[in-house]
Subunit: 318 residues, 2 copies
């Protein structure tokens, strides 16, 4: 069987395995067999999400420190678990890297990835590695990372998108627009951020904090919940155009995206605190039946005006 090993990939797998050691009651078998074996709590259901991050689409090697890329890849998956109200059980990492990559890139990527994993107490239980091929002479291959996050919720307890009812109050956690604003700054002064290696507060783009604890507490309170980043294009080019066009703070908040906050609805009778797990919770509107039977989010501005949120389409690579 050992005749099957690929030296380059094996070294990468070994580097990951060496650093991934972490105990967990729910993880029976981690890296090193054909599959990982998870033992979820009895009478719990399993939530699974996958998030693919590609160089040039979701991050840029010349803008993002490797620690940030590792952190962000994992944050995307954990934010999806948070949006179901799930408790993380294990994460998996499929990583493709070009042959000629700065020696410490993977190491720094793993540092960022594993720091967030440790903080949220979720073990890296497996994955896959591959060498990303060069597609033209003299140019190396691209980096691609696919994250799988597995969580558990009590049977029937997952908070679905479809649970919202007319009359529900709409809330959002934390602050929106910060990630887009930091990305704009990053695009202008990438060197200023190149040394950032830690998930410090106040770096909502480089080191977003998935709202796992808030999500779990909202399982009892919310009727519907969604990850604000979901379906959002992280098109850096596009966001830079947006900078040039000097959009307003409101537009950044509405359309800038990648804030990894939770948007949820709850009955007017539900007692939603102003802060949960130290994260502020903002009431931003109500659910109303739209004329054609569709639900629309109606926002209420500070001066009392009601604003219907218009869908804004995004497109990669324009």
């Amino acid at each position: 069987v050992s005749s099957r090993s690929v030296p380059g990939e094996l070294a990468l797998i070994e580097a990951i395995r060496r650093r991934a050691r972490s105990a967990s009651r729910a993880l029976r078998l981690g890296i090193g067999d054909d599959c990982a074996v998870l033992r979820p709590k009895t009478s719990h259901e399993i939530c699974v999400t996958t998030d693919l991050s590609l160089e040039g689409t979701h991050f840029r090697r010349d803008w993002h420190p490797p620690e940030s890329i590792g952190h962000r890849c994992l944050a995307r998956g954990l934010s999806d678990l948070a949006a179901m109200g799930a408790e993380p059980v294990a994460v998996f990492l499929s990583l493709a890297v070009p042959r000629r990559l700065a020696a410490d890139w993977v190491d720094r990527f793993l540092t960022g990835f594993l720091a967030l994993a440790k903080k949220l107490r979720v073990p890296l239980a497996g994955g896959d590695t591959a060498e990303s091929p060069s597609i033209s002479q003299g140019r190396g291959g691209l980096i691609a990372a696919d994250i799988v996050a597995v969580g558990q919720v009590p049977r029937g307890g997952a908070v679905l998108r479809s649970g919202a009812r007319s009359g529900d109050i709409v809330y959002v956690t934390g602050t929106l627009g910060g990630a887009a604003a930091e990305l704009l700054a990053l695009s202008r002064y990438p060197r200023k951020f190149g040394k950032l290696t830690d998930a410090l507060a106040g770096h909502p783009h480089l080191f977003p904090e998935p709202r796992v604890a808030v999500g779990r507490r909202l399982r009892e309170l919310a009727n519907a919940m969604i990850d604000v980043s979901d379906g959002l294009s992280t098109d850096l080019t596009h966001l830079c155009q947006l900078a040039a066009e000097s959009r307003s703070v409101l537009e950044l908040a509405l359309h800038g995206g990648e804030d990894y906050e939770l948007l949820f609805t709850a009955s007017p009778q539900a007692r939603i605190p102003r802060k949960m797990a130290e994260v502020p919770i903002h009431r931003i509107g109500v659910m109303r039946k739209a004329s054609r039977g569709q639900r629309l989010v109606v926002l209420k501005s500070n001066d009392g005006r009601h604003i219907s949120l218009e869908p804004v389409g995004w497109e990669h690579f324009r």
Copy 2:
């Protein structure tokens, strides 16, 4: 929330969702929320594996029909479940494709993927899509597909690699070397294979059959089990060099790889039939303690000679 959608990706996700519809008792919620929700059997454990397939490393667009690529991506994941003795519960697909891809490529990829999924009764429960960026003028991006396969086994029932004991008989399912032989033919006459769209028997490279049914039956019989393809480089370039060097049939069988057969050990007292689920089972050796405390596989040839299997290292892109 709909303001977050990316038209190109949305169309791809819709195409996948439309075709992925499939019912399953264990799948409570499929594509369309932040996570899929799986309901495994009570007192079962969960097996998870991820397999990353990259254009140029694991397949070539000019050699492999899209149906074969979809089939093979899924087969890799299901073969890992088979090697644990697990029953498939759901699969997930993260797919990155370049903007300019032949219109029917994704459709044909999904046809191959979903035909195998249907055959083995496992639903496509979610995933992610992204647009693979072009990294040089005039060249499109590469295709990348990451498969996540989730299965279930009774608690403590997974067949691990570590379970082999000295004196165990070593078996392998099916036939080895066929995949490598077909790949050689493919590299020489790619057009001959370009129209193949179905998982016909006799195409061990293009349409390998993961041994899911055999793996489940072996759960009660095997002490240790591994997917023969595991850890194997699917380096097409390398395999073509191998052709040029005219290696022997034995070498193709030992080192050609990608046969997606199961290698397992069982006690000499275990009753292993000669066929399971219509797949022949071959006894190929015994487990012996090696001098330095390591286990080695000792093969026995038809003329009675004993051959120790030497590890052969493989490397991408030499």
